[in-house]
């Protein structure tokens, strides 16, 4: 290994949507830059181009570390070159991840997004308010089954085109992103970014929760992170219009607001699949308690 330069980190997250991939990309981009690794977030590679030679040339001559995402539903934008595109991604990227999240929750989020609020991620208080669900709503069973099929297909696609992917836990990503990134990318710097606290603060802020317990030092740290995100945007490394997605609907909110929650859980547990782990209502309740404690909402 060269003593004179770090190897480029080329990170790809594979996603069906609804598993935290946007948060992963944004927070990792900020984290790596903050620790001295010039890193650019391309978001979905199809946003850059759907011409494969252009994509190959652009990425392979990029001097920065790269964080990007690839999804089966957008890959087809490459048309006849779709398979070649996926093959290129599989060897070009040095670290290929998929986020492991409770499949029931993911499918619920996905169904909710695609036929419920219509917006996958929210990035501001205003967006949060606009996309907040009504107090009670239901998700059509057929839509939920369709979403289950979609996720099943995603896992098949994943194993077919990216058999060497690494799995990271959604819980680790949300509860301790700094440590997760430090360990995954062998970061030796001890600078404290506090992504978790920043995320918690924003989650409370958009919900008009009590923020008076934050001391000025903590608030200054959040301002520093916000400024840093703007700085990265000015350098073209991050899209400022979409910085960090903010937790839109907690599990507790889903439990309370989705009127046919139990019915959907039964559908999920009876769906025949090698990829979906069974989960009980009690386990979901326990998880909601843990999540509430994390956000301290």
């Amino acid at each position: 290994m060269s003593k004179y330069l770090n190897k480029l980190k080329r990170v790809l997250v594979l996603t069906p949507d609804g598993i935290g991939s946007t948060y992963f990309q944004r927070s990792l981009t900020v984290y790596l830059n903050y620790h001295g690794y010039l890193t650019k977030n391309y978001h979905d590679l199809c946003n850059l181009t759907t011409d494969l030679p252009t994509l190959v040339k652009t990425l392979s001559t990029d001097r920065t570390n790269i964080v990007a995402r690839c999804s089966p539903y957008r890959s087809t934008e490459f048309g006849n070159d779709t398979k070649k595109y996926l093959k290129f991604c599989s060897y070009f990227f040095t670290d290929i991840y998929v986020i492991s999240r409770c499949s029931f929750e993911s499918v619920l989020s996905y169904s909710n997004t695609h036929k419920g609020t219509g917006t996958l991620n929210v990035y501001s208080k205003e967006q949060y308010k606009q996309n907040k669900n009504k107090k009670s709503y239901s998700i059509e069973k057929d839509l939920f089954i369709e979403s289950l099929k979609y996720f099943e297909d995603f896992y098949v696609w994943l194993d077919k085109y990216f058999p060497k992917h690494k799995v990271i836990s959604y819980t680790d990503l949300i509860t301790n992103p700094d440590t997760l990134f430090k360990n995954e990318f062998n970061i030796t710097s001890d600078k404290n970014l506090s992504l978790l606290e920043y995320n918690k603060f924003n989650t409370k802020r958009v919900r008009n929760k009590d923020l008076t317990k934050y001391c000025s030092e903590q608030l200054l740290k959040f301002i520093e992170i916000t400024d840093y995100i703007q700085y990265l945007s000015k350098k073209g490394l991050l899209d400022i219009k979409k910085p960090f997605p903010i937790k839109k609907i907690t599990l507790r909110e889903k439990l309370n607001e989705i009127s046919n929650f139990r019915e959907l859980l039964d559908v999920y547990n009876n769906y025949s699949s090698n990829h979906f782990e069974k989960i009980s209502f009690q386990q979901i309740n326990d998880r909601a308690v843990i999540e509430d404690n994390l956000w301290t909402i």
Partner: protein, 231 residues
């Protein structure tokens, strides 16, 4: 004629140059497009106001190390930090001036060296001589004869260039690009050899492992103090 200003692409930055491009990689025996694309280190060609792949020169050139050569010195296919002049600078902490020019013929290298000797009274000069079959056409254009057309003229040309500059400055460190030098006799100074250990992104020019072994030899030659431990 100012041989210390190469009047092409001054103050430019590019991600590819010469034979280091994705299309060329398809035709190289040691490298595939996949190798080119996945080369793990960042490469750019940042050309200074003198036309060379280097940062701007210091005002005071009294104590610098002059590094002359062709694309192997310029570091085609590798990051600037992996070029032998850059590694020498890192390890010796002496400012090393990279004067590598793509495709340079030995006669051009001779002319650059003569100007440095005449204008700067150099303390340290290192020359990585180019292929024998490269001939001079005009200051910035070179004819690349086929290697199988090599003849005594090519060897004579090399010997002339080599001996001329080594007569002017006795303590030059001389080496060559990776090529057969067994026919080079009657040279008036040592021609240092090294082992080719690796290749850069283009599958043709050497990378940092080979460069390090060359630098080790240069460090010994000039008895430079090493600062490796600060890396």
């Amino acid at each position: 004629m100012d041989y210390l200003t190469y009047p092409f692409k001054m103050n430019t930055i590019s991600s590819t140059t010469g034979m280091d491009n994705i299309y060329n990689s398809a035709n190289r025996p040691r490298v595939s497009i996949k190798d080119w694309v996945t080369y793990p280190y960042p490469i750019s060609y940042s050309i200074n106001s003198k036309g060379f792949r280097d940062s701007e020169w210091p005002d005071n050139l009294d104590d610098v190390v002059w590094c002359l050569g062709d694309s192997f010195t310029k570091g085609v296919g590798v990051p600037f930090e992996h070029t032998w002049p850059s590694i020498l600078q890192t390890i010796s902490k002496k400012r090393c001036i990279n004067l590598g020019i793509n495709g340079a013929a030995n006669r051009l290298i001779l002319n650059i060296a003569k100007q440095i000797i005449s204008e700067h009274n150099p303390k340290y000069m290192i020359i990585m001589w180019s292929y024998k079959h490269r001939r001079y056409e005009d200051p910035w254009q070179f004819i690349h004869y086929k290697e199988d057309e090599l003849n005594s003229k090519s060897v004579e040309e090399f010997r002339y260039c080599f001996n001329t500059v080594n007569d002017l400055l006795p303590n030059i460190y001389n080496t060559t690009v990776p090529t057969d030098v067994s026919d080079l006799t009657q040279l008036n100074n040592i021609l240092h050899k090294y082992e080719l250990l690796d290749f850069g992104r283009d599958g043709f020019h050497f990378d940092y492992l080979t460069a390090e072994s060359i630098v080790d030899s240069i460090m010994q030659h000039f008895n430079f103090r090493r600062y490796d431990n600060e890396l």
